[in-house]
């Protein structure tokens, strides 16, 4: 089991939520104070480095035009971390390649970071949440097709070493591709892809990339991981899917006492409660299939919005499996329960900072997890474990 400290670099100093229609896309940047923002960057970088000291790996992502994540160019932050950190794996999850016009440029950025970090890059790719299409002016229709063409092209950029090649695809055109530098890791850095749908996960499984899913709780995560394994097996990759191919992201806060853990967990919920986004940003046409929109129109819960309403309380979020919070013993048990329910995963992506969770409390949460929970998870769920065989694993663990 590998754990990753993930921080979205939020800017929490906002006016009352009822004074704006959306925290994303349209919130004027006059609200952003660059001096405060600079201090926040310093602080969030420090927290990543503290996580590294504690033996936890580093993860970051990018969003655009939003106070929830002021890291609109994650490769830039990753480049800084590549120089500031020494040993942690560096996971970017990820590059929104359906929204970027030049996959070749993304391949170059990632190769450069791999070299800068002496081979510590874990290269993640995401379709991007729906509110990203307007900031990128990216057509929400056929994103999946663009995503996979871009990813295949990026892999070819990394693995082709004999001078220029060309690509004339459905969405991207290049006459002469020959990137410098090439990656240190051979044949290329580990590839991660996030997906919150079973059909997407099967595709990721067929490619054998690491599948990450965010805040999908118990049953949805189980379905997604099952689809991944099905895709893996159908592609002829063998019967056994190692747990290191699967990752789950949750809000996680560990405190030395229940009271402190509770206070930290409440603050982490900012990601759920502050994510005020109207439907015209959260469900652009074509982002979800027509059939799902029909169900939504008839009142079904929007499964695209991973920040469901029932998860807006600490109890609700823990029950839903989107948050693990409490004392080390409690968090260990919560993770264990979730792990077994979904069939096991080898990567735990820790959303360990949000909103007004101050530096000292963030560091406390990181350290308590790293020192009191992480060793137990590593022991219980060794990387050699095969996913989807929870019965046997549970028996072995007793």
């Amino acid at each position: 089991m590998r754990a990753w400290h993930f921080s979205e670099n939020a800017y929490p100093y906002l006016p009352p939520a009822d004074s704006y229609p959306s925290i994303r896309v349209s919130l004027p940047n006059r609200i952003y104070d660059p001096a405060k923002g600079a201090a926040l960057y310093d602080r969030y970088i420090d927290e990543w480095l503290i996580a590294e000291e504690e033996g936890v790996e580093i993860m970051l992502n990018e969003h655009h035009q939003t106070a929830t994540c002021v890291d609109p160019a994650a490769p830039l932050m990753l480049a800084a971390l590549a120089r500031l950190s020494k040993k942690a794996r560096l996971l970017i999850l990820g590059n929104p390649i359906a929204n970027r016009r030049q996959p070749v440029r993304v391949a170059e950025e990632m190769a450069m970071i791999d070299v800068l970090s002496h081979g510590r890059l874990e290269a993640g790719f995401v379709r991007g949440v729906p509110y990203e299409v307007l900031p990128a002016n990216s057509n929400p229709v056929r994103m999946n097709e663009r995503h996979w063409e871009a990813l295949d092209l990026i892999v070819k950029c990394w693995t082709h070493h004999d001078g220029p090649f060309s690509h004339e695809g459905r969405f991207f055109h290049h006459r002469s591709i020959n990137i410098w530098p090439r990656t240190i890791q051979q044949p290329h850095p580990p590839i991660w892809v996030s997906s919150t749908s079973p059909s997407g996960a099967a595709q990721v499984g067929a490619h054998g990339y690491v599948q990450a899913t965010f805040l999908t709780g118990f049953d949805n995560t189980k379905r997604i991981f099952e689809s991944y394994r099905r895709g893996w097996r159908e592609a002829g990759r063998g019967q056994d899917v190692p747990i290191d191919r699967l990752a789950y992201a949750a809000l996680i806060y560990v405190g030395d006492t229940e009271a402190r853990a509770r206070a930290g967990a409440e603050k982490l919920l900012w990601y759920v409660t502050a994510n005020k986004v109207p439907p015209y940003f959260s469900n652009p046409p074509g982002y979800v299939p027509v059939a799902m929109n029909v169900q939504l129109a008839k009142g079904a819960h929007n499964v695209v919005s991973v920040f469901g309403t029932k998860q807006a309380t600490v109890e609700g979020a823990i029950e839903a499996g989107t948050m693990f919070a409490g004392t080390p013993d409690q968090v260990f048990e919560q993770i264990k329960k979730h792990w077994h329910h979904v069939g096991g995963y080898g990567n735990l992506l820790i959303m360990g900072q949000a909103g007004f969770l101050e530096h000292d409390d963030t560091v406390h949460g990181i350290r308590m997890f790293a020192r009191e929970v992480y060793p137990r998870l590593k022991e219980l769920f060794p990387d050699t474990t095969i996913s989807g065989m929870t019965g046997q694993v549970a028996a072995a663990a007793i």
Binding site: V25, S26, L134, N137, N139, P140, V141, R142, E145, R170, P278, P279, Y280, F281, P284, P285, G286, V290, A291, N293, V294, A297, K298
Partner: protein, 254 residues
């Protein structure tokens, strides 16, 4: 209902064909909301003339092939549809995005159109770079879009609670296809305005007086790009005068 199918290139199109009538056929190109033979202007417009209405690819029951992603593609497809239907010349009527398709068709084969009627057409960019000519309907609350679209939103707005699953699916599919076709450049082809001078047929530009999507300034500038154009306003109508004022719309078209 006189609904049939036509295969053009590799695309299966749903086709409404009133079948009767004298004189040149009217080829009607619907707007972003899609077409139904039950829409109130249909009976009026097909009283004396043969009315033919394809559902655009990705609308109604028409297929959307994976290679198709632009209004230009549809314009080519419909010129071929005219060949398939053995229409040498037609009167071409287009509403909103259908007006854009019509304008593209007319620039390609001006000789095949005796007359054009464009109601609330999009397709060109006439204003400054720092202001959208057409408001961004995909970045606004539904109620606001309805106010921009209709003269009388309360009467006209769709009631999704009364729609069948098939109707809902058609509505969402239409919206998705509309986004595919219009997302970038937003609601226009930058080259179109350099080609419109070829359209020699008499062209009537229609605008509902309350149209919040296509402004009078936009319509006038669009009309000035054609050598033989005139404009007309329909009262008590917004962006879809064919639905809000079917009689006045039909009178203008005939």
């Amino acid at each position: 209902m006189p609904v049939t199918k036509a295969k053009v290139a590799d695309v299966e199109l749903e086709l409404f064909d009133s079948g009767r009538g004298s004189g040149r056929p009217i080829l009607f190109l619907h707007g972003g909301g899609g077409f139904s033979g039950r829409q109130p202007f249909v009976a009026l417009l097909s009283e004396k003339r043969r009315l033919v209405v394809p559902s655009h690819p990705g609308f109604g029951k028409s297929a959307l092939p994976d290679w198709l992603d632009s209004v230009d593609d549809i314009a080519h497809l419909y010129l071929e549809l005219m060949d398939v239907l053995k229409f040498d010349r037609v009167d071409l009527v287009g509403c909103s995005i259908g007006g854009w398709i019509a304008a593209e068709m007319a620039t390609k084969s001006p000789e095949r159109f005796s007359r054009l009627v464009l109601a609330g057409p999009v397709g060109v960019k006439v204003g400054p770079p720092d202001k959208l000519d057409i408001p961004d309907i995909f970045a606004k609350p539904e109620t606001e879009v309805q106010k921009l679209t209709y003269h009388d939103p309360e009467r006209m707005k769709p009631d999704t609670s009364k729609m069948s699953d098939d109707e809902l699916a058609a509505m969402f599919r239409a919206r998705e296809t509309l986004a595919l076709l219009t997302w970038e450049p937003w609601m226009h082809n930058p080259k179109l305005k350099r080609r419109l001078h070829r359209v020699s047929a008499p062209t009537l530009f229609i605008r509902g007086e309350s149209d919040g999507l296509v402004s009078q300034t936009y319509l006038d500038a669009y009309a000035r790009l054609l050598p033989n154009a005139s404009t007309q306003t329909i009262r008590h109508a917004g962006h879809v005068p064919q639905l809000e004022q079917p009689a006045a719309f039909t009178a203008a078209v005939r």
